[in-house]
Symmetry: C2
Subunit: 223 residues, 2 copies
Amino acid sequence: MATSTVENYLKHILLLSEAGAAGALVPMGGLAAALAVVPGTATTMAKSLADAGLIEHRPRHGVRLTAEGRRVALNVLRKHRLVETFLVNVLKMDWSTVHPEAERLEHAISDEVLDRLDALLGHPATDPHGDPIPSAQGKLSTEVHATLATCATARPLRVVRVTEQSAEFLHFAEKNGLAPGATVRVTGRNLTAGLVTVKKNAGRPLALSLAAAGKILVTPVRG
Amino acid sequence: MATSTVENYLKHILLLSEAGAAGALVPMGGLAAALAVVPGTATTMAKSLADAGLIEHRPRHGVRLTAEGRRVALNVLRKHRLVETFLVNVLKMDWSTVHPEAERLEHAISDEVLDRLDALLGHPATDPHGDPIPSAQGKLSTEVHATLATCATARPLRVVRVTEQSAEFLHFAEKNGLAPGATVRVTGRNLTAGLVTVKKNAGRPLALSLAAAGKILVTPVRG
DNA sequence: AGATTCATTTTGACTAATCAAAATAACCGT
DNA sequence: ACGGTTATTTTGATTAGTCAAAATGAATCT
């Protein structure tokens, strides 16, 4: 059985490789940063994960999941996102507080509980942040969305995902009506100043940094 | 924050001390056995728990929880039993499979989740095995019940608790209508042979060893 | 191409938790 | 009170995971 440390390494390698180019190696530096360990620790761990056949380690270049490693990582990610969904939908917890909770629970629940949770929640496709939940068969939707930093302006949009897990940011997004499901419109964008202005249907305009806007994924909606 | 190993030691010390005489020391041997470690390991850990002020260690005699240790232990036990209740009542899992699951989850859920689970379940007083759930204020009901090995014969009884966590035994109990809530009657008891016979309302009699009968706690019912 | 910079790996050391086996203390019966 | 049995503690080692800091290799920039 994989320890929760191992599960965490695999999960973060998966997340980083989804973020990067397809088939690319995940560099050790990024991995170490994601796991909040010093680089040397990540290297040590990479060697043992490679010995266990869970990752491929190209020394001095980076790591990549094997098929088996990916299987384990997807299972952990599925647990994480279903647990988050459970905590918000059933226990009515705030979506901004749910991440650290799921971070621990994802290593504690069995596949049996996972399946029952999935059924209880009605086999949801995404978690409360809009992050896709890997299917039981290990399929992870990779639909690519525009962000408030890149989308067309003036058109009505629906927020589909918020790719940040810090409570601060999530709180901010909720307060300003930018949670998944919300409808907004980009009223202005100034690349030089690094500013995006958005407007909710009947609200006053709100200014966001490009960095923040880039974390809000949207899809056009028939207006 | 206490590690899950620490939480486990404290929980088992609590369970063993509840089982024994009030105020008695829990011997190291029993503790080591309960935790499935060699005695030397339990001694080492006892020293560090004592240093942390969680237990009192009387070398060569045994251990006892301090007020703080008891507080932590009760919190863990509360999590364990509420999780079991959740798994059975909400996720519809079998009561015989739920113990090992809760054994991991009890260390992974926060007090926040604990409280919400408690509310969701309607503040239950006992878990599916009939074991009392410590209150949020740290009160643990210590009601003392007769067992099928010690109760009056011929009278109608209600099963209130089954003090075993092995899936085999729980399965057996359920198959034979001896889960909490069931009504039974002791039709015979032979101390010499170590046998107890019980009968369900409309069922055929069932023979149990005294050891097994001692694990089924019952209360008289107006009949 | 050569030197500098930056990421990565190595090395040595540490903590938590464990075991095996030797040493020691407590208890119990005569 | 003595000797033997049994429980407990000590001692020495092991494993997983980590850090700090030195060593090394890759990449970049004139």
